[in-house]
């Protein structure tokens, strides 16, 4: 599909394409209610509650006033709807602001000021400096005589540097006044979201140049939301408008991610639902049997002799309604509230603020904090993530000479400085390539100092280094470069730029030396793409050695090369290049092909080595997270030796002899297969030893392995705790994430650049580092942090707390619902199994919404262990990873507790309020009070740390309970009139409450105490030592014990089974194809300590 844009044509195109009205809104006023309701009701839970609420409208079966379900349901819906509405309103306001901005355009040949929303396709739009671009424009003219202008694209791709944009050559030299009258047609693709491509053509109508098709690229466009900088004015023709702009098309609603905890809660909810159905069926049958056997004899009930056809259904439906409280209606709201608070805690955390840049952490996705605590695999990018991405030119090798000694870097190497100042030809050429072969824009500040704006950190490092070595890139004026070498100026004209792509892995420029008119191609790139392109006869061995040597130091290497061009060779080539550049289909590949025709017979000048220092705290962070049982995979585009070097210095792998690195390589399928089998075998063998095994694979072998040997590779992936994948492409990164996800691991991907975006979006949790490569990754990610070392805190502190808190909150929600539901069920047995509700509407409604939700919400402040303890014992994260705190067995514990408590409340209530005291309303209130008292003590018992808020919530809630009930009891028309006052005056009421609390809590306390003292979980042990100031805290780092003393210490208790039999993977996955592999893994010993290596 193509679109034709007629420039400056006021009649056409108006109706064909949309106007420039931007709309990010999800709703309009009219469709808000139906659309929002529809969305909310697409969730199973909401459908369920709606069904219950509708059934309640049938007065024959409803046990209580329908308000008891409708009230909370409407409240919950209102809360989430108003949140949606508020967000949408804010979006509307932003849109409105953007839409109503005044913009200069040309209509009927006259410049007019109109609102941005009225821009049509084909309109010519005029912008001034610092204006925001209102829609996607094709540049036609700028203030700059060369036809350049600068834009800041931060809002689009997050990159903060200035980018150059130029007008198409067809429009060169058109007078400003004539621009008003320009006519032509642009053939461009239909709206798409590729912000890096605009493969279009333009043809101008007479009197302008005619019949010549000009290619257009993204370089000729100004995209919506960019800012015009350093350019007085620019004008362009609107090609995409409204929501069809590149930005508009990119805007997508991300699929909501579901955490493991959410999935578990859903599963448990399903189980509860089944249980509820069973209960309903059993009680329904019992009720019908009782009715036939007994009920008809109860003359005072007056059962009709012949019932309606649905008679048999009435009692089961009544029980369905009675039991509907088993699934807590408030759980979704409570969890949402809790989750947004977890996210806020991450945002607020001052310890996760980057002190250098002031960038704070941000949780963009509020819903998945629990998953942070359950991470099993971290896939990390290298550059900019582990390293600072602050490139410094360190060493170089120029025509066989190595510059830069052990201690100092090349810039302080006297020999190199000498060579530069004396004008050694090789060195000068090398420096020229460094200074010219790039896309850096020099910006001269008012004081005269030059700073460089560069897209690539490598280029910036090279240009800065060449400037230090007296080859200064002074100015870039259109195509003309001003270079100053040893105070003698030189000028070069850049004819073509053969751009960097991750497939080509090199970039070249064709330049003409202005004085001599000679043509050169200057090239730089990765060794494997440059070294094969030399002219026959050049010895590249020294360079290859240099590359190897530098890589082993963990330096990034770039090979620099050049060649002289003949004029006619260039002319021939440049026409092909133009042609390739104007293709609409598959342009990138064709351009690459054409480029290759020129990039040959190079003379290699030398190798530049650039250091990318590790970020602060990276080795420590990785060590701690590895201790916590998290496996690390490093995915990088760098070469193998650099990657291994970085991996060693980051504590990914212990150095020999503890660690072992296995390399999978090969160029053909067979080689890869053999290599893979060998590595797999070694890994299986060493699994029994406590060896730290890592496998290394490069992009090529990885592709073959993923394609043909997926199964063995998957097995290897599961067996090996560490993997280093080098030379991988963004899509391979995403594939690896997918592979691990298929094995049912929780994955976290962390990266900083645009090439990590796919991996970040693919992973369960995406973390972006707001780094120097722009904010692209941070934008796409669920969490953005300033530095890699904050990951430790994000996972161990925030993730772990979130998981623990949600585990308690969700199970407690079920507990309290079960509690009241069981009492209803028990009561039905003494009310003729007829489906009478013991509790009244007010109590049922308030029980879920107020009494039991408020105290437990404050459990989001609970901390089972202090942050310090967790950091000292990261192994405690195992409990979260394996889902120890929320799984069917813990849930069964809560289920049992609620059953026990229901029995306690029910039995004590009906016995102490028997005979003359057995008034329905009073018994109901005694039972409700009993539940409230019990749940207050349950929350108190399960709270690990009481802050003032928890005390207020737990005990204040009790006060609130009585206050609410007194108020309701003082309304004469309510069914509860005077009940609560009467009860509170009776000594027997209070005595009953104390009895309920003691009977309910003593066994729970006793059991908890026994477990806590004699079968403590690891969390309990750490709690004890933390609070009693035990030996763990004092020693800080635990000294490993000797074998002999250990043997004596180990009790035969089954609780103290070896760690790995309870490792996360062993408990979690029980079924599926990976089972066999798991059992292998579960026997492996932990790799808990690693000697740290300084970087």
């Amino acid at each position: 599909m193509k679109r034709y844009v007629y420039i400056n044509d006021d009649n056409l195109a108006k109706d064909i394409y949309c106007d420039n009205r931007i709309s990010n809104r999800k709703y309009t006023i009219l469709n808000f209610l139906p659309k929002n309701l529809w969305e909310q009701f697409s969730r199973f839970m909401n459908q369920y509650f709606l069904l219950i609420a509708c059934l309640q409208l049938w007065s024959l079966i409803t046990p209580v006033n329908p308000a008891s379900t409708w009230g909370p349901l409407i409240l919950i819906f209102a809360v989430s709807s108003s949140k949606e509405a508020w967000d949408d309103y804010n979006r509307y306001l932003l849109d409105k602001k953007a839409n109503e901005k005044e913009i200069w355009i040309v209509r009927q040949g006259i410049r007019k000021l109109i609102q941005a929303q009225d821009i049509c396709i084909g309109n010519i739009v005029w912008l001034r400096e610092n204006d925001e671009v209102p829609c996607d424009l094709l540049l036609l003219g700028t203030a700059d005589p060369q036809g350049f202008c600068y834009v800041e694209t931060a809002a689009l791709d997050g990159e903060t540097d200035l980018k150059t944009r130029s007008i198409p050559s067809a429009c060169m030299g058109i007078d400003v006044d004539l621009l008003h009258k320009i006519k032509g047609v642009i053939e461009c693709p239909s709206p798409n979201k590729d912000i890096r491509r605009f493969d279009a053509n333009m043809r101008l109508f007479p009197p302008f140049l005619d019949n010549d098709i000009f290619p257009l690229t993204i370089k000729n466009t100004l995209l919506q939301s960019c800012y015009l900088r350093n350019t007085e004015w620019a004008c362009g023709v609107a090609v995409y408008t409204g929501n069809q702009t590149k930005l508009g098309m990119c805007r997508g609603i991300a699929e909501p991610k579901l955490t493991a905890v959410d999935a578990m809660i859903d599963k448990l909810t399903g189980a509860v639902f089944v249980f509820q159905i069973v209960v309903v069926i059993v009680l329904g049958i019992a009720g019908n049997v009782f009715k036939d056997k007994q009920g008809r004899k109860l003359w005072y009930v007056q059962y009709p002799k012949e019932g309606p056809w649905y008679e048999l259904l009435v009692i089961p439906l009544r029980f369905e309604l009675l039991c509907s409280i088993m699934i807590p209606i408030s759980i979704k709201v409570s969890l949402d509230l809790a989750k947004s608070l977890y996210a806020k805690f991450i945002d607020w955390d001052v310890e996760m603020v980057d002190p250098e840049t002031g960038i704070r952490s941000n949780a963009a996705n509020q819903a998945i904090s629990e998953d942070l605590g359950q991470v099993e695999y971290i896939l990390t990018d290298k550059t900019g993530t582990l390293t600072e991405n602050k490139m410094i030119f360190k060493r170089c090798c120029i025509s066989g000479r190595f510059y830069g000694n052990e201690s100092g870097d090349a810039l302080t190497d006297a020999q190199l400085l000498n060579a530069a100042s004396t004008g050694s030809a090789d060195v000068i050429l090398f420096l020229k390539v460094m200074a010219i072969c790039n896309t850096v824009i020099p910006v001269r500040s008012k004081s005269g100092t030059i700073s460089y704006k560069a897209l690539s950190q490598d280029e910036e490092a090279l240009v800065c280094a060449s400037a230090r070595l007296r080859m200064v890139l002074e100015n870039k004026n259109g195509n003309i470069l001003d270079i100053n070498f040893n105070a003698s100026p030189m000028q070069y004209e850049v004819l073509d730029t053969l751009e960097f792509t991750s497939d080509r892995k090199r970039m070249s420029v064709v330049v003409r030396e202005c004085q001599s008119g000679e043509l050169f191609i200057l090239s730089k790139g990765a060794d494997e793409t440059i070294l094969p392109l030399t002219y026959s006869g050049q010895q590249v061995r020294t360079f290859a050695e240099a590359v190897e040597q530098y890589a082993q130091m963990g330096l990034r290497t770039l090979c620099l090369a050049w060649r002289k061009l003949e004029e006619d060779e260039y002319q021939e080539w440049t026409s092909m290049f133009k042609e390739a550049n104007s293709t609409l289909v598959d342009r990138e590949r064709r351009v690459a092909e054409v480029c290759q025709r020129l990039e040959r017979d190079f003379e290699i000048l030398g190798v530049a080595a650039i250091e990318d220092r590790l970020q602060e705290g990276v080795p420590e962070t990785i060590e701690i997270l590895r201790k916590a049982g998290i496996n690390f995979w490093m995915l990088t585009g760098d070469k193998m030796s650099t990657a291994i070097q970085i991996a060693l210095s980051c504590n990914f792998v212990s150095p020999e002899p503890k660690g072992q690195i296995l390399i999978i390589d090969g160029k053909t399928e067979d080689e890869v297969c053999r290599s893979l089998d060998r590595v797999l075998l070694t890994t299986r063998i060493t699994e029994s030893e406590s060896k730290d095994v890592a496998f290394v694979v490069d992009g090529w072998a990885l592709e073959i392995a993923l394609k043909h040997y997926r199964k063995p590779f998957t097995e290897l992936a599961i067996l090996s705790r560490t993997a280093i994948c080098c030379r991988v492409t963004p899509s391979q990164k995403a594939q690896l994430v997918e592979l691990l996800k298929l094995c049912d691991y929780r994955t976290l991907a962390i990266g900083d650049g645009g090439n990590d975006v796919r991996m970040i979006q693919q992973a369960d949790i995406g973390v972006g580092i707001s780094g120097r490569e722009g904010l692209q990754a941070a934008r796409a990610a669920d969490y953005s942090i300033g530095k890699f070392r904050f990951l430790k805190r994000l996972i161990l502190v925030h993730g772990r707390y979130s998981y623990n808190r949600t585990a308690f909150l969700s199970q407690y929600s079920f507990y309290k619902s079960f509690l009241i539901c069981f009492i209803q069920i028990f009561f039905s047995f003494i009310s003729g199994v007829s489906g009478t509700s013991l509790f009244n509407t007010v109590s049922l409604m308030a029980y879920n919404v107020f009494y039991t939700s408020v105290p437990v919400l404050f459990s989001v402040l609970d901390k089972d262990l202090s942050e310090r303890t967790v950091m000292q014992h990261p192994q405690i994260l195992f409990d979260c990873q394996s889902g120890r705190l929320l799984n069917p067995s813990t849930f069964a514990g809560w289920f049992g507790r609620s059953l026990f408590h229901a029995i306690v409340v029910f039995v004590i209530t009906i016995h102490s309020y028997a005979f003359e005291k057995s008034v329905m309303e009073e018994v109901a209130m005694v039972a409700v009070s009993g539940c409230i008292w019990l749940q207050a003590f349950v929350v108190a018992l399960e709270t690990n740390s009481f802050t003032i808020f928890q005390h207020l919530a737990i005990w204040g809630n009790l006060v609130g309970f009585y206050a609410i009930n007194w108020i309701v009891s003082s309304i004469p028309t309510s069914g509860m009139y005077t009940i609560m006052f009467r009860l509170c005056e009776q000594p027997s009421y209070w005595i009953t409450m104390i009895l309920i609390v003691a009977t309910g809590m003593c066994p729970v306390l006793a059991l908890k105490y026994l477990r806590y003292t004699y079968r403590p979980s690891r969390i309990n042990l750490l709690q004890q030592s933390e609070r009693l100031g035990g030996p763990i805290l004092s020693s800080g780092i635990i000294e490993p014990k000797s074998r002999s003393s250990l043997d004596k210490d180990i009790p035969t208790d089954s609780v103290y089974e070896p760690l790995l039999s309870e490792s996360p993977s062993a408990t979690r996955r029980s079924a599926g194809p990976t089972q066999r592999l798991d059992s292998v893994q579960s026997q492996s010993p932990p790799h808990s300590t690693h000697t740290r290596k300084d970087n």
Partner: protein
């Protein structure tokens, strides 16, 4: 490396997001709440505390239990089950037939007072196996109608006892319709014992739930006769038997106040009861009992609370002892790091 690869979905999520990086760089405010560093008390279950708690509970519970039990034992209670005895032996094969017939149902009972009973002595009738809490029954009333003279027609929930040919029934519904109608007369030494029927219902019910100007209408006029009739010219707020009956019981066994005897009864007094055995509990084999009882600060005779307190107190004491013994025999250092599994793993160094 250059981020030179085209990434399709990478660009920003909308115009709203463009402010994010700027807002992001603002330093978050420090407060102990936002940093999750609020001062907190972190109790742990040390043996001292737990054993102490259990001891404390037992120390509190056992006396309360004893006091409650004494209170319950102080209550003097006379219970007389009469539903079978009040049917002539010849007719006991067809009790339902008897109760539905027009025979005289007067019955004489003699009660012996086991202990001195201080006035006021409460007279209850107790029904067993009577489901006042049945779903069909408990809802079959109209509070509107009971309270308000204007709401005669408000008989929605009362079906099937809502209307007769002559208009709406007041009070409507099954509860009112099945009003208990046995009556008791007491004599001691051939002297009439006065049973006060005043103030046997809740004051709040008389004043706010049952209207002063609501009078019975069409009551028990339907085809089916239920229980007692009401005096037609007495307002509902003064029909205390009805008010008591309308406070439905939560359990199938319940007592309702019939009246109060406001003289003391002496030990070994014989009381003759003349009762009209009208109410049909025979069709569902329910029991009927006449109960005379004094009261204590805890209410009527009910040993449950006392026994429960003693049991819980005793159990707590027992648990405290057991924990203490375990603690002494097998002491265990809390928080010993050697119990941490990762500290014991030989491969961990």
């Amino acid at each position: 490396m250059n981020s030179g690869t085209p990434s399709s979905s990478a660009a920003g999520a909308g115009s709203a997001d463009s402010t994010a990086p700027r807002r992001n760089s603002k330093r978050p405010k420090y407060s102990r709440f936002t940093q999750q560093e609020l001062p907190a008390c972190k109790p742990i279950l040390t043996p001292k505390w737990v054993i102490g708690t259990f001891l404390l509970v037992s120390v509190i519970f056992i006396p309360i239990g004893v006091v409650s039990l004494f209170a319950s034992r102080d209550v003097v209670e006379i219970v007389d089950r009469y539903e079978t005895d009040c049917i002539p032996e010849a007719l006991r094969n067809d009790k339902v037939g008897f109760i539905q017939s027009d025979r005289s149902k007067t019955c004489q009972r003699t009660l012996r007072v086991p202990k001195n009973m201080k006035q006021p002595i409460y007279v209850y009738y107790q029904l067993d196996n009577f489901y006042q809490n049945h779903r069909r029954y408990v809802k079959s009333r109209s509070d509107q109608q009971l309270r308000n003279n204007g709401s005669l027609q408000d008989t929605g929930p009362c079906k099937p006892e809502d209307n007769t040919a002559g208009g709406p029934i007041v009070p409507c519904g099954l509860i009112a319709w099945s009003l208990f109608n046995d009556t008791y007369g007491f004599t001691r030494n051939n002297q009439q014992l006065n049973v006060s029927k005043r103030d046997i219902s809740w004051k709040s019910d008389r004043e706010h739930k049952f209207g002063k100007n609501v009078f019975p209408r069409n009551f028990q006029n339907g085809t089916l006769r239920g229980g007692a009739t009401l005096k037609p010219n007495v307002s509902l707020s003064e029909q205390e038997d009805l008010i008591v009956w309308m406070r439905t019981a939560a359990l199938p066994t319940f007592r309702k106040l019939y009246g109060k005897i406001e003289v003391d009864l002496q030990r070994d007094d014989f009381i003759n009861v003349t009762l009209e055995n009208n109410y049909n509990t025979y069709s569902f084999s329910g029991k009927k009992k006449l109960v005379l009882s004094t009261t204590s600060w805890l209410g009527g005779k009910n040993d449950f609370v006392g026994i429960a307190y003693l049991t819980v107190g005793g159990l707590c004491f027992f648990l405290a002892l057991v924990f203490l013994l375990i603690y002494l025999i097998k002491p265990r250092q809390l928080g010993d790091p050697s119990y941490l599994s990762w500290n014991r793993n030989p491969s961990g160094h």
